[in-house]
Amino acid sequence: MDWLQNVDWLQLLKCFVTGGAICVIGQILIDKTKLTPARILVLFVTTGAILGGLGIYQYLVDFAGAGATVPLTGFGYNLAKGAIKGVREFGLIGAFTGGITSAAGGIAAAIFFGYIASLISKPKMKKE
């Protein structure tokens, strides 16, 4: 079991706690407000993009890794980071191309897998 010694347990713990904490914020919003899931997702992605643009979210990513990038705030951060990178490389046009370029993998995967799932699967009754 060589690989076990190479695992950075502290890093995984930081990731777990940060990711969990971001989700808890979402849960409090669900339970305490009447926001629908779509509104909560929008709130998270916009917050992530703004914090990403201000450079604040970068600290969280450095600290927690996937714990900060996997939640939807990370998706927003990714879009903002891409837009800034685009501006650096291509100027104004980069603001338009950069964001989607950096998030392209995720968006394309979601569309493609969504289409495939609709081909092979059918909705089923919720049992409870």
Binding site: C23, Q27, A38, V87, K126
Partner: protein
């Protein structure tokens, strides 16, 4: 004051009558499921990086794999059970975004593949893209303005 005296009074009365969600239990479930999903992402990220892939490419691979798993579980009619249990724990990570695209695609299959699946796929997730992408463009433009005036924002 009686509850039916005014709309406001009735709303207050209804709020008192309505049961609250079990918020502690919900937060606990959201915490560990959300944390677990992120940790799975971190493990995939570490594996990718140890194979010599760059941070950006590894991050994209993490997104694609998590989205794939989420789409697969949605297709197997399992994701909604996880979602009912975990709430924001499965909604807030990228898995929730994937689920919100896959679930209407499956639901509206009955209206055909073009206007049903294609047209309705973004009924829930569309706003995420609209607001996320718009915000990123604004961020990029603001960055451009500050940068050309030699004020560094980042």
């Amino acid at each position: 004051m009686k509850p039916l005296d005014s709309k406001k009074e009735y709303q207050n009365y209804v709020d008192k009558k309505s049961p609250n969600s079990p918020i502690l239990k919900n937060c606990f479930n959201a915490f560990w499921v959300g944390g677990l999903i992120c940790t799975i992402g971190q493990i995939i990220l570490n594996i990718c990086k140890s194979r010599g892939l760059s941070q950006d490419v590894s991050g994209t691979i993490v997104s694609i794999i998590l989205i794939g798993i989420s789409a697969f579980l949605t297709g197997l009619n399992i994701f909604n059970k996880i979602g009912k249990f975990a709430g924001a724990g499965s909604l807030v990570p990228i898995t929730g975004f994937a689920n919100s695209i896959v679930s209407p695609a499956m639901e509206y299959k009955s209206e055909g593949y073009v206007m049903g699946v294609g047209g309705k796929m973004f009924t829930v997730a569309g706003p995420v893209l609209v607001f996320g992408i718009s915000t990123s463009i604004i961020v990029g433009i603001i960055y451009l303005i500050f940068n050309t005036q030699s004020i560094t924002l980042v």
